[in-house]
Symmetry: C2
Subunit: 256 residues, 2 copies
């Protein structure tokens, strides 16, 4: 790796935005943003003071970071099949083999985080999971990821899929539970802000005790009276009632 390796970021979504935002303060040089949507490209250009390129007129670079939706990775990667760069995708679910076969130096660069444009993040503590096809590219990938994060891990495509599933549980499903709790509070005219201290303490306790020891509640202590009372409250909320039952069964099974 040169002292200031050059990067092209491909895509104009949330992940692309955060890659630009993270690498702009690193020793790497973002040579440009590549994409199709010209108004988005303009916005990236202005915001990060970088050049923008269409899919057929981009310059050379040492790294090409493809941050497009999962089902477009293969097609988009074909554009770079003649490149000598390290071409990587950023998906949790897709294997490294999703990159077009002819690419000589393939890799995966998967940041384990939830991204929204314009919402700053602490990149140093964001875990990045890397994979390369050729062992000789591993150190380059490690150095590259290490430019923005201090939590770089090697992970193969099979395990990365299970990591992504863990991410769905921790982010999508936790958020959905917060949504259901919000609805219950709103229905009872309780300000939703009362939830945050409890949620923050829930995470803090799981972190310090481990989730197994931190588990409490009716299901954990086998309090079927409270479970019945909750199910009665949910009698006209079919989906949440089902979820409550399944979740209580799961907790009882895991803690019995």
């Amino acid at each position: 790796m040169t002292k200031t390796p050059t990067i092209l970021v491909v895509g104009t979504g949330n992940v692309a935005w955060h890659l630009c935002n993270a690498f702009k303060d690193s020793n790497c040089k973002i040579k440009g943003i590549v994409g199709r949507n010209t108004s988005e490209l303009d916005s990236f250009s202005r915001q990060f003071n970088i050049e923008s390129f269409g899919f057929h007129d981009f310059p050379n670079s040492e790294v090409i970071l493809i941050a497009v939706s999962d089902d477009k990775i293969n097609k988009v990667s074909e554009i770079f099949k003649a490149s000598n760069a390290l071409v990587v995708h950023t998906s949790g679910t897709k294997s490294i083999a999703e990159l077009c076969e002819e690419i000589k130096n393939k890799g995966v660069f998967y940041p384990f985080q939830t991204f929204s444009k314009n919402k700053p993040l602490n990149y140093k503590s964001t875990p990045i999971f890397i994979e390369t096809e050729k062992p000789e590219n591993t150190n380059f990938m490690k150095t590259l990821a290490g430019e923005i994060s201090s939590k770089v891990h090697d992970l193969d495509s099979t395990s990365r899929k299970e990591l992504h599933l863990a991410g769905v549980l921790s982010n999508n499903f936790v958020n959905a539970l917060i949504g259901e709790a919000t609805s219950l509070l709103t229905k009872n005219n309780i300000p939703t802000e009362v939830m945050w201290p409890l949620l923050e303490e829930t995470i803090a306790k799981a972190k310090s005790l481990g989730a197994k020891d931190a588990q409490t509640g009716p299901a954990k202590r086998g309090d079927s009276k409270s479970i019945e009372a909750h199910l009665e409250l949910l009698k006209s909320n079919d989906q949440l009632k089902k979820l409550y039952s399944i979740m209580s069964n799961l907790i009882q099974e895991r803690h019995s």
Copy 2:
């Protein structure tokens, strides 16, 4: 309310511990801890430098805070039926009427938080939900709760049950999801610490955007290929597979 109202705390569990810990730094005076378990009483005595009493030899006080398990509230409250004190329980699920009928001044003092002994908390930001039977006791209860928290809310017994259910979703169920995610990581030799930045950002995003706008993932975008792939990964994990399906259905229903 006098300038230094006197309190008896009844019970030696997690909630009792935190009531003692919170009120010891307030303008209220803890007259003592009341309970059955003598070794626990001794430990409270030493830790908070307060007197301890059995169920039949306690002194008078202006407030009696009953922090025992739900199914013991009624029985324990009978002991105080002749008292002129404000007698309150601290349960989310039990109605104010769970307190023995003869008690003249009944109340509920429900802190919406998850408690572990010896784990310090910011009480000022812990929401407390109060209820009194007689309107003339409301101001006293507000002042009392205001001694430890700046987030005091009136709430009746019916709504408090739904609030408690929201607490089960936000704490017990979120923790259970963290437990499942932990297992997936451990199975793949991934350090579990990689979860915390994602979980903390999940809470931060729900807080800033609202859970509805913060929802992302395969279920939200109707990506049935990813959902199928996740269910395939879970084929030998029956409980979590069921949970995944129900949760995905719920997300799709709420966002369609």
